[in-house]
């Protein structure tokens, strides 16, 4: 009898040898291998799941060398082995999650629309069509969904603005230029459950009256690009996409700043990716000057379940003004790296220590950077901060796209601050002065501090520079770079006074 086996084809699993595992398994046994996305327990990849009488049984991390042993141990019947993990949904890391946006990711065949339907797909768009565009927008507004790309702007309000704007044509643009350090949620979703994004965009298009959608995907995601294009073909064949609403995927050219929505639009239009001044808001004058909804992958992918289960269901989860769930990505020097979707309100400490298991190196955690390269560095003293837009803002931080990068006690925060400026200099589009010149001067000033040159004066200058960049920059790249720099300075001042630090040691 042929046994069905699920093996991820997610880029993280592939990097760890999933293709070889799948290939060998096909040769060695009578199996039907179904390639899925990842469930997001990255330290267990490649995680192989076997369909048994008692449901799926997971093994992992499986290497090629393990296959013969696993088969001998009766893996295809769910047999015992040191790599046997049991029923995946009972793994604490998964069991503790509230998987909504990622409910199918790692479970379904990403390119099977039947599988998608069988797991609850397309109920959202059916609901939208039933209640009409205005009620759809209202429902999204009521759900409390906020932009998951980082800015946290209420999605329903953005949609309403675009819906009310006058324009010959309107567009839905999905920002899949996921460039933040330590983030991979967009990629996982596009590789593991692309139809949920297509459905979310179709709902958005229906709600605001847009006939075309564009997904702008970063070039560093070849697997996501391929899977998503294949999914678009399937959706067109199925009629989910068509003359009323169609989607095209465009690939970026490697500029971080093109993840900023207005430079993304310029890049989509075929121009150099340069930030536009706002207003006009993209919802009024966006792609090709037409009203445009531009949302992150996760925001759009969260819409189908909101439509399906209702605004109330979604808004009951979370805390404060942060409603629903957030797929948090644990990365860096962390023991249990991966994707963890849960309601807002979980504390940073729980995420890093309880769920993430502390550092991978085993050394004490010294700092975590939340929200990508523009996010603040938090010391363990701030681990009581709940994962919530406002709570992080109150401590001069941001949750951004939900990436958490963990550092142990060998980190030098002055170097990290310099890296922030260096990153900004490297990725600046060059349009506004604070970012274009400020980032370069920032590197130079930090270098002088590191060299012990007039440290106090240069620290004052650095603070001044951060003020200029924060309030003067045109977009969040230059505007938020002060967060990592200033947080490093505030929470880890000793790293900026090397002489004194050495003396103390």
């Amino acid at each position: 009898m042929t046994t069905r086996v699920y093996i991820p084809r997610d880029a993280a699993a592939l990097a760890l040898g999933a293709d070889a595992v799948a290939g060998l398994l096909r040769q060695a046994a009578d199996v039907e291998v179904v390639r899925t996305g990842s469930r997001g327990l990255l330290w267990l990849e490649p995680m192989v799941e076997v369909v048994t009488a008692e449901g799926r049984i997971a093994y992992g991390p499986v290497t090629v060398a393990d296959i013969s042993g696993l088969l001998a141990a009766g893996m295809l019947m769910g047999g015992a082995h040191k790599l046997r993990l049991g029923r995946p949904e009972e793994l604490p890391y998964l069991a503790k999650q509230t998987r909504l946006t990622f409910e199918r990711c790692g479970i379904v065949d990403p390119l099977s629309l039947d599988d998608y339907r069988a797991h609850g797909g397309l109920r959202g768009i059916a609901r939208a069509r039933e209640i009409g565009p205005a009620a759809t927008i209202e429902l999204v507004t009521q759900s409390g969904l906020r932009g998951r790309g980082g800015a946290g702007f209420p999605t329903g309000i953005k949609w309403k603005t675009a819906a009310d704007a006058k324009g010959e044509r309107k567009f839905i643009v999905c920002n899949a230029d996921e460039g933040d350090s330590g983030t991979f949620a967009d990629r996982m979703l596009m590789e593991g459950d692309p139809f949920v994004l297509i459905e979310g965009m179709a709902i958005a298009g229906f709600a605001v009256g847009a006939g075309n959608g564009y997904v702008y995907t970063r070039s560093e995601y070849p697997h996501a690009i391929a899977t998503f294009n294949a999914a678009l073909d399937v959706a067109r064949r199925d009629g989910l996409l068509g003359p009323d609403f169609d989607i095209e995927q465009r690939v970026g050219a490697g500029a971080y700043v093109c993840g900023e929505e207005t430079s993304l639009l310029d890049s989509l239009e075929g121009k150099r990716g340069q930030v536009r001044a706002k207003p006009p808001l993209p919802a009024h004058k966006g792609l090709f000057g037409m009203p445009t909804v531009i949302n992150n992958v996760v925001s759009l992918a969260s819409v189908p379940i909101i439509l399906d289960r209702g605004a109330e269901f979604y808004r009951e989860i979370g805390m404060g003004r942060s409603r629903g769930t957030m797929p948090i990505q644990l990365a860096g020097n962390i023991r249990y790296g991966g994707l963890f979707e849960c309601g807002f309100g979980v504390t940073l400490g729980e995420l890093v220590n309880d769920i993430g298991g502390g550092t991978r190196s085993g050394r004490p955690v010294r700092a975590v950077q939340v929200g990508g390269p523009l996010g603040a560095y938090f010391p363990p003293a701030l681990f009581d901060t709940p994962f919530d837009y406002e709570a992080f803002a109150a401590r001069d931080g941001l949750i951004g796209h939900g990436g958490i990068v963990v550092f142990d006690d060998t980190v030098d925060l002055a170097k990290q601050a310099r890296f922030a400026m260096e990153f900004c200099a490297e990725e600046s589009c060059g349009k506004c002065t604070p970012c274009r010149i400020g980032s370069v001067r920032g590197m130079e000033v930090i270098d002088r501090i590191a060299a012990g040159e007039r440290v106090e004066a240069n620290l004052d200058l650095l603070r001044d520079l951060c003020h200029t960049m924060k309030f003067g920059s045109l977009c969040a790249l230059g505007g938020f770079i002060p967060y990592p720099v200033m947080s490093a300075l505030e929470h880890f001042p000793e790293d900026f006074r090397p002489a004194r630090r050495e003396a103390a040691e």
């Binding site: 207003p279 200099a425 506004c432 010149i437 980032s439 003020h467 003067g472």
Partner: protein, 945 residues
Amino acid sequence: MPLIQELDYGTPESSATEPVTLTIDGQEVTVPAGTSIMRAAVEAGIRIPKLCATDSLEAFGSCRVCLCEIEGRAGTPASCTTPVAPGMKVSTTGERVRRVRRGVMELYLTDHPLDGFTSPVAGHSEFQEMAGLIGVREVRYGQEGVNHLHAEIDASNPYFQFDPARCIVCSRCVRACEETQNTFALTIEGRGFASKVAAGAGEPFLASECVSCGACVQACPTGSLLEKTVLELGQPEHSVITTCAYCGVGCNFKAEMQGDTVVRMVPWKDGKANHGHSCVKGRFAWGYANHQDRILNPMMRDKISDPWREVSWEEAIGRVASEFKRIQATAGKNSIGVITSSRCTDEETYLVQKLARQGFGNNNTDTCARVCHSPTGYGLKTTFGTSAGTQDFDSVEQADVMMVIGANPTDGHPVFASRMKKRLRQGARLIVIDPRRIDLVRMPHIEASHHLPLRPGTNVAVLTSLAHVIVTEGLVNEAFVRERCDAEAFADWASFVAEARNSPEEVAKVSGVPAETIRGAARLYAGARNGAIYYGLGVTEHSQGSTAVMALANLAMATGNIGRPGVGVNPLRGQNNVQGSCDMGSFPHELPGYRHISEPAVRAIYEREWGVTLDAEPGLRIPNMIDAALDGSFRGIYIQGEDIVQSDPDTRHITAGLAAMECVVVHDLFLNETANYAHVFLPGSTFLEKDGTFINAERRINLVRKVMAPRAGMADWEVTQAIARALGLDWNYTHPSQIMDEIARTTPTFAGVTYDKLAQGSVQWPCNDTAPEGTPIMHMNGFVRGKGNFVVTEYVPTDEKVGPRFPLLLTTGRILSQYNVGAQTRRTPNVVWHHEDVLEIHPHDAEERGVRDSDLVRLASRSGETTLRARITERVAPGVVYTTFHHPATQANVVTSDYSDWATNCPEYKVTAVQVSPSNGPSEWQEEYRELTQRSRRIEAVPAK
């Protein structure tokens, strides 16, 4: 006048009308919705610091020194990109924004020369001024970090340089190239700190697609882009508003001066034709005024084979008067005449024709418009009732479809072309009817919907065919025709155009334009909400030039595209004052204001004014004068500012006529080609050396102001007056304004024009009691002639036909950097772009003749031959060749025929049957001519005093 610095509002005016009231720094101000906070602040008298903003460009928001704070809103928004809102409370001077501005300015100064005293823009730099406003006292970062302070200067352009060390990457130049000039030659290369202004694909400016319009230089706030004259002379100290003396666009400039030295010419923001824009000619190519070739003393000689002898003004004027008197005494009243200049002022032109009519007692006056737009005058007068274009230039902003025929605006009328391109980029559609694939057919962000590459000489067939489609497909605007046009004339015309022989399918056979293209173009034009026709000499300079003009008028009337903004029939006139020279009665049959000499009532006005009896018979046209010279009945001529030997067709015929005359008086800046045949040379004055007016293609009367004394001692109008007085006329003008007063007194369409009024701003004629502020758009409520007159436009092929000996058709035109016969532009660094005329030939025709690119070729016609270099290009269709006539060494007009327009004698420059063959060197004629020129330009050494 002190140095004029126009108030910069920072962002463009809002087109909205709804008023919005807000408070800025405690001051209440009301502005139209959509206005930026920055602009509203300027309205309130508050200058917020700014660098990347200027009101000719859309807000950009990059420099970040204009930040402000708004009550109830987070952050520090840029005042240039933030629109006003009702009740908004804005603060522009809070401590936070001050601190950010200081921070930003300090960052700029880490990468900018701190050479306040030695900088070429010392004292005149917007950037320095902003640093002063913001108050940076120290650059704490030092200048030791990475920087551009030693970047290489690009001095490749003859007129300006780019110093990257002074560049603050505000993108004003890039945006000016895009938004103002619409050329897209500039870009920002690289990103982040490596961002750098680049011309083309990182080429030197000169090698790039830059057209040297100067918009970038003007937009630059730092002097990174700077005129080389400023670098050399220093900053100007005063300015004078005047009008460009090149094409018929009529751009207003600020002549920026040091004493009587021009430092630079900068387009004036309030110029109504150019709105602060310019082209390479007006902006930069004024150096001919100081060229060593300028003749500054009157000269005489007994025979044209003699060398010139410098004489006093008295002697020269005396000779002119005595010769003219002698000739008239022996050969009769009609044996002498004048040619007025389309480059001189209205007042000067008026005086020259007055000299003929009052002083010579004949109507032997003609003008160079004879050879360019005389069919426009005839055609538009016949159909509409007025010999001029119907619109103002601003009208293009409302055009939805433009039909451009026989004009090459990006070369000939570049400043207006920029406005066309801007409108086309906004979505207006374009039809180009031209044998050549002119730039407008396809250029960055612009593509014609239809290009009709017709065979030269078939304009009338194609235009009639467009009418055929409009009539037979029911696209006529019936209501307009019924209400505004002559019913009978329309009916005759409609049945004529509807005949099958005028169908696109038939016309395709003669014109070479596919029938579907003709149909598509006709439908597009007829279906336009606002359809505008723009045309040039490619329409008029044909044996059926006048017919073609009327065919255009017919199209406009049939589709109702006349009498409102966005539509019309618009001749793009070639020379600065060709409209004015025609308006001033330069033609032999018309008194000023296009009133026929045969009308007794009109003559009476001038007879009273001038105290003489006028001849009621029209005088001689230029071709008639030449013919009469050859038969001995015409013997003396006064030619002001025109070079008929180079510009008129069939050069050999012209030179023979001139050589036959007894007294040829040439009044010009240079010893031009015509002066080779002159007996008296009177030195002319440039537009910088006199007061007066020019009238542009939109009938706009623009003031020309003297910025320096006439270099030869007398302005042209003074010279004509001196001749008149020597002939015994009692002329006593002491200022050109008195001449304009006389024009206004005698010409109804100019009745309201005075210099005082013009000093308040230019006006478009008619300007009189009915229209005291002038008339931007004509025929608004009915045609000037009453009912619009449709004219049947039967296509009659030209007699100039190709055959086995002359199988190709030559057509001529001009190029951006050169102007007309090149007398001015050839004497400027503009020659770097075009140092010789070349012959454009299709690869197929070149291949057949064994001609390779850059080869010397012999261009021969039934009239003559010349030699020039070939350029192989697909711009021209097979069977068609093209050249320009800017260089006397080529003398393209040796080749052109003496066929001309049936109604006006306008020469058929645009169609000549020719043959092209490889050549070893100049033609015999060119050799002879070079020798003649050298001989006839000899000037006797001045004896030691």
